[in-house]
């Protein structure tokens, strides 16, 4: 376990640094949301997901769907770090002719689905989980949701469906960073009591600190949280986590760091060249 934590911590640092450089180079938005889920992604790809980077369409792979498709940069980063494609590709993020679009694209190896309009991933994940159940396959389906995304009514249809059909091979993860596009979640459209909502829909819920690798890994190693129920991991996170001047700041949903701020961010992360 200790080794895993060290490894995933290093992976988290590396993908944060990649994402920062990518949005800096592309003058792109959404770094805050990338950083809030960096630790979740590092743990997933560093020790939980059963995937084969050399065989991205391996039928028995675990599926990871990024429903909050605007967090594309850091998913590309972790896929590159895991060897799905060369890390040099990251330098083309959002550039003319690049496959690496600003919202996640299935044309990139390792990416299951393209999203960008919120509220799509969980239904697709439900379909994949149902296929797995009926086919007797043992893969699992992970869907990463944002908190603001839960405003979309389309999420609550699959939440209802998965509970009813007892899809315990389906795992939702909520990157609960408390800030959505134009204000705090509490101000715009409050989600609380969020745990009780999922429980009422038949899901087994765990709440964790989404930056504590020990908590993340131990939760993800305990899947399903309950036999016969879909699992949801509500991960309390901080938008912009890891870069002091971005943490908890709505502006970093939109802004891109200039060269000076990029260097400051990389210095803070430490351990990255």
């Amino acid at each position: 376990m200790q080794t895993n934590i060290v490894t995933t911590a290093d992976l988290a640092r590396r993908i944060r640094a990649h994402a920062l450089r990518m949005v800096h180079r592309a003058n792109a938005s959404h770094i805050g949301t990338c950083l809030s889920m960096a630790d979740l992604l590092a743990c997933l790809y560093g020790g939980i997901l059963r995937v084969r980077p050399q065989e991205p369409h391996w039928p028995q792979r675990d599926r990871f769907l990024l429903s909050k498709g605007h967090g594309a940069a850091i998913l590309y980063a972790v896929l590159a770090e895991r060897g799905f494609f060369p890390t040099e590709w990251l330098e083309t993020y959002c550039a003319d002719g690049s496959l690496l679009t600003g919202h996640i694209s299935h044309h990139v190896p390792g990416v299951e689905v393209s999203t960008g309009s919120l509220g799509h991933g969980l239904s697709i994940g439900c379909g994949m989980a149902l296929a797995g159940k009926r086919d007797g396959a043992d893969y699992r389906v992970f869907v990463m949701l944002s908190d603001g995304e839960l405003d979309e009514g389309s999420n609550w249809e699959p939440i209802l469906f998965a509970g009813h059909h007892r899809l315990d091979n389906l795992v939702a993860m909520v990157d609960y960073n408390k800030i959505q596009s134009f204000g705090s979640v509490a101000e715009v459209l409050g989600l609380e009591p969020l745990k009780a909502k999922w429980e009422a829909f038949g899901w087994a819920v765990r709440e964790i600190d989404g930056h504590d690798h020990g908590q993340i890994l131990s939760a993800l190693q305990a899947l399903p949280f309950q036999e016969g129920r879909p699992s949801v991991l509500i991960a309390h996170t901080v938008k912009g986590k890891g870069v002091s001047y971005m943490e908890g700041e709505l502006a970093w949903h939109y802004r891109s760091p200039n060269a000076e701020l990029l260097q400051k961010a990389l210095d803070e992360l430490g351990g990255c060249q």
Binding site: S117, G119, C126, A131, D135
Partner: protein, 304 residues
């Protein structure tokens, strides 16, 4: 048409294990035969078309051929973004089936009139759009879309549509079926208007007007050759569709304009205006000239 569809789908599912059927809590007295024979490949997802369509995409990404089924606008407009992003963008092997297309639910009011579906579906990337003309074409279309890899939209009538074809025609996606030869004028029909169009052609023949009749069952990809042949070989074109603007008429006009054809052209379709009164399918069609008389009047206007 819906009976022909479900019977054919059951036959196909017997042979092809990848076929799944999802419904949005509609299909009473129709879908039971699939549900009972293939329970492991059937799901009533509930009254939740967005989830139905997203799930269909997910199932298709796991190798299934997935049919979604509901009535009129529900499997189309309610979940349009799921169709665009989840199905079309990923070229997922999903077949969207809408029963009661056009004015089949005439008396139920405008919410149940599927009269913009063809226009909306035909602009989506990767989407094959088919509206068969009778129960025979329905069976053939169902077979064809199972073989076709990629997103398809199948717009059906409801029940009791007359069988128009006397024998099983050759059916190919994107190839119009010529039901009647003629060189004075061409009547191009899509979907359930076919019986009316054939009848109009028979009546015109009594007046020595020989009308060519094309069943344009596939709107996208459109049979350009059949349209251009009609333009050069006959004295005019009339499109007939139980649909508003932007459907068959627009698709045919695009071909004619692009090729610089100046053939006389009339488009019979519904206005861009919700029906405000109840009416049977026949009654509502007739109000807007989608009738034997309406077609004959348009033909005679062109031929002077």
């Amino acid at each position: 048409m819906r009976t022909a569809f479900i019977e054919e789908l059951c036959d196909l599912a017997e042979q092809e294990e990848r076929i799944w059927l999802l419904c949005g809590d509609l299909g009473y007295s129709v879908l039971e035969r699939f549900r009972d024979r293939f329970p492991n490949r059937y799901v009533n997802v509930g009254v939740a078309e967005q989830n139905m369509t997203g799930m269909a995409a997910g199932l298709a990404m796991c190798g299934k051929i997935v049919f979604t089924y509901s009535i009129a606008n529900f499997p189309v407009l309610r979940c349009l973004e799921q169709i665009r992003n989840d199905v079309c963008y990923h070229r997922a092997n999903v077949k969207i089936v809408a029963v009661g297309g056009g004015l089949a639910y005439g008396a139920q009011g405008y919410t149940h009139h599927g009269v913009e579906d063809l226009a909306v579906m035909r602009v989506l990337p990767e989407m094959t759009v088919i509206a068969p003309g009778d129960p025979i074409e329905t069976r053939l279309a169902t077979r064809a879309i199972v073989r076709h890899e990629g997103p398809c939209y199948l717009r059906l009538g409801k029940a009791g549509e007359p069988t128009v074809h006397l024998a099983e025609p050759n059916f190919e996606i994107g190839k119009a079926i010529k039901l009647r030869e003629g060189n004075h004028i061409t009547l191009i029909s899509i979907g359930g208007m076919l019986a009316t169009v054939v009848k109009a052609a028979e009546r015109l023949a009594e007046d020595d007007i020989q009308a060519r009749v094309l069943s344009m069952h596939t709107l996208t990809p459109l049979d350009r050759e059949a349209v251009l042949a009609a333009a050069t070989e006959t004295g005019g074109i009339i499109t007939v569709e139980e649909h508003g603007v932007g459907g068959l008429a627009s698709a045919v006009a695009e071909v004619l304009a692009a090729e610089g054809c100046t053939v006389p052209f009339r488009a019979l379709h519904l206005p861009r205006k919700p029906a405000s009164h109840a009416g049977s399918q026949e009654a509502l069609r007739g109000v807007h000239g989608l009738s034997v008389e309406g077609i004959m009047t348009a033909a005679k206007a062109i031929l002077g």
